[in-house]
């Protein structure tokens, strides 16, 4: 997993509340393989970005070429609410996002983001609205997110601190996911397993036929 330390990148304002995981990753993409070169980036917010005929909606903010390299999304409350579909976080990641800033997030979605190296931080709604104003005034402006120091620097150079659990911060800064965390206990797992097998030789194992 890519470590997250200090990110300076174009920030896109998505001034919508309650964007649910079904909007982030429409259901019809849920039965699709995700492979390098064939990822979920296309699916991200598909129905907001494209019309029924598959043409880009010119008025939709993320279709503005100035946001082509946006890595930060500043959006409304409850982003990622709704179904627990884990593909939604993949869609955001594959679209190229590394950080999401909103007044609140769907809880499962937020956990899934961190699992995939995306920082999802909460800021008060009044600040978010101020960021939107700044980003409207200066389209394509950059923001900086300094995770080690838990600070966000707005386009107007205003510095704002944010909260994150020490555990989540540690995982993102070190670029380790839950499997990496577990593998730090690899020896304990091995010895536990060996003891259990010796004590209970009858535990079932299946063969591939």
């Amino acid at each position: 997993m890519q470590p997250f330390t200090v990110l300076t990148a174009v920030a896109a304002p998505l001034e919508i509340a309650s964007v649910d995981t079904g909007m982030i990753l429409p259901g019809r993409y849920m039965r699709r393989h995700r492979r390098p070169g064939h990822d979920y980036g296309e699916a991200f917010l598909y129905d907001l970005r494209f019309d029924e005929a598959g043409r880009p909606r010119a008025e939709f903010v993320l279709n503005d070429p100035i946001y082509r390299n946006a890595k930060i999304l500043v959006t409304g409350r409850d982003f990622g609410c709704g179904s627990s579909r884990e593909g939604a976080a993949f869609a955001a990641m594959d679209f190229g996002l590394r950080a999401l800033v909103a007044p609140s997030f769907g809880e499962i979605f937020q956990v899934n983001c961190i699992q995939n190296g995306i920082l999802a931080i909460t800021m008060p709604a009044t600040l978010i609205e101020d960021f939107w104003r700044q980003l409207r005034e200066r389209p394509g402006a950059e923001m900086t997110i300094d995770l080690p120091n838990q600070a966000l620097i707005a386009p107007d150079r205003g510095r704002h601190s944010f909260d994150i659990s020490p555990l989540r911060k540690d995982r993102l800064v070190r670029g380790i996911d839950d499997i990496d965390v577990t593998l730090e206990f690899g020896d304990a797992i091995e010895s536990f397993e060996a003891r259990r097998r010796a004590a209970m030789p009858w535990l079932p194992t299946a063969q591939r036929e």
């Binding site: 019809r28 849920m30 039965r31 699709r32 393989h33 995700r34 492979r35 390098p36 627990s84 579909r85 884990e86 593909g87 993949f90 899934n112 699992q115 555990l167 839950d178 499997i179 577990t182 593998l183 206990f185 304990a188 797992i189 536990f192 397993e193 259990r196 209970m200 030789p201 009858w202 535990l203 079932p204 194992t205 299946a206 063969q207 591939r208 036929e209």
Partner: protein, 470 residues
């Protein structure tokens, strides 16, 4: 002298490898079941990361949600819907690429994961079992700690490490004592419990079902009860192992044999909850007061005895509950105070991980023998082994002679992943576990009940009291 412990606490403690500073435990997974559902996300990510399955022989992939229960001769080539076919193919590919044992299309054991794991003797007392399916607690009926996991990240973690991080739940004992009245089954017990405590009543708890009525149940009945733990909010449901458990397990393919059996049995006998052990919460029900149940609404807690009536929302004080009932009756196209036995149905479904085992099929066949169903319907055995057994007993003839379809095994119409759906506006009497809006198909009107009650509904063409037929 150790302190008294519950069944859950003993199995939990036996599987803890480490505890994190945040209080989550890393637990060893003895066996992991995998269905096709969203599991491809886990395997896609593992592929991208270059990770393999750590212990493939402690996993079993089971294709159950997306298989058709009819017209199987041509395999995937015969599947009309390309998206459904693709999910089935992806499980084949993932099982192959990750070297996982796989019960697929034409395997002799083919069936629903939570039916075949106990049937093969995989689910044993004292084990920790995971599966990317919310009804995993079914396996807890065998005295195991069986936990549902997410189909993406959590499954990926179990496949790669054979461990799972879990927060320790609180414990709850639900005791059902006394003798069940005639025609009252395991399904009626669990629907009564859920109706009483609600769909969130056991959230955050590991539930142990106990009491003389549970002791008297067969393994099939216990599997039905544990199956619907999640409909009461509990991810974990279990029954302490006893002679019924041991007799059920003996000689099954994956059960211990010879000296291993003796050693295992000695261990299993140490597992039941100690007499002095304390639970965080205790509930008790009187079996003698239970009756055959049907659901009338859009949540498993919306259930009532068949001789009852549709509730009147205007007489419900709690505003949230009143709004729910109003919406449920609107969706279900039911009028307040209608007697439940007056509700006409359009079709029946007998199947699912809740009620598709041999005892369930026998109970339904007993009602249907020599009778005709006046509505269409289908019967889907829980596994190919159940199907073979039912055919050996002539149950298939009873269903077919009654006018019902005798299908192959799979999750089928329980949630319609495979495209076998109840039509919009159609009312279905079903042995399944969920009656949420759209569960069996968009606009489908589901009433859940026991297999015998579904059979009675088929005979009368309406919700009916099976006691009238016996």
């Amino acid at each position: 002298m150790t302190t008294a412990r519950t069944l859950f606490e003993k199995i939990w403690a036996d599987h803890v490898i480490v505890v994190s500073p945040q209080g989550e435990a890393l637990l060893y997974v003895d066996f992991n079941l995998i269905n096709e559902g969203q599991s491809f996300l886990a395997f896609d990510q593992l592929r991208i990361e270059g990770r393999q399955s750590r212990r493939p022989q402690q996993q079993l992939a089971v294709t159950d949600h997306y298989l058709p229960t009819i017209n199987r001769a041509r395999g995937t080539a015969g599947m009309a819907n390309p998206e459904i076919r693709r999910v089935v193919e992806m499980m084949d590919e993932n099982a192959r690429d990750f070297r996982l044992p796989h019960v697929g299309w034409f395997h002799r054991d083919q069936g629903i994961a939570h039916v075949i794991a106990p049937e093969l003797g995989i689910s044993q007392p004292g084990m920790l079992i995971t599966c990317n399916d919310s009804h995993t607690a079914t396996n807890g009926a065998c005295g195991a700690l069986a936990v549902p996991i997410g189909g993406g990240n959590q499954l990926r973690h179990v496949v790669a490490t054979q461990t799972v991080w879990l927060k320790k739940p609180k414990t709850m004992r639900i005791a059902i004592d006394g003798e069940l009245p005639k025609a009252v089954t395991a399904k009626d017990i669990i629907l009564s419990i859920i109706g009483d405590i609600g769909v969130g009543g056991a959230t955050g708890y590991a539930v142990e079902y106990a009491g003389s009525a549970i002791r008297a149940l067969s393994m099939e009945g216990r599997l039905t009860i544990c199956n619907m733990s999640i409909e009461a909010g509990a991810r974990i449901g279990m029954v302490g192992p006893d002679d019924t458990t041991y007799q059920f397990l003996a000689d099954r393919r994956y059960a211990p044999k010879g000296a291993d059996w003796d050693q295992a049995l000695a261990y299993w006998r140490t597992l039941p909850t100690d007499a002095e052990a304390a639970f965080d919460r205790e509930l008790s029900f009187d079996a003698a007061r239970l009756a055959p149940m049907v659901s009338w609404g859009t949540s498993p807690e919306d259930s009532a005895p068949i001789d009852g009536a549709v509730p009147d929302p205007s007489r419900i004080d709690d505003a949230d509950r009143r709004r729910h009932v109003e919406r449920a009756l609107d969706y279900m196209q039911l009028r307040p105070v209608t007697p439940l036995a007056d509700v006409a149905i359009d079709r029946v479904f007998i199947g699912s991980c809740t009620n598709s085992r041999i005892e369930d099929l026998r109970a339904a066949a007993l009602v249907l023998k020599g009778r005709r169903a006046v509505v269409p319907g289908m019967v889907s055995p829980g596994s190919s082994a159940v199907k073979r057994q039912a055919e050996a007993e002539g149950l298939d003839r009873i269903f077919i002679d009654a006018g019902l379809e005798w299908r192959d095994s799979g999750c089928s119409m329980c949630n319609g992943s495979n495209g076998e759906l109840v039509a919009p506006g159609e009312r279905c009497a079903s042995t399944t576990n969920r009656n949420y809006e759209g569960r069996q198909g968009r606009g489908a009107l589901t009433h859940i009940m026991s297999p015998a009650m579904v059979a009675a509904a088929a005979v009368f063409g309406r919700l009916a009291d099976v006691r009238l037929l016996s």
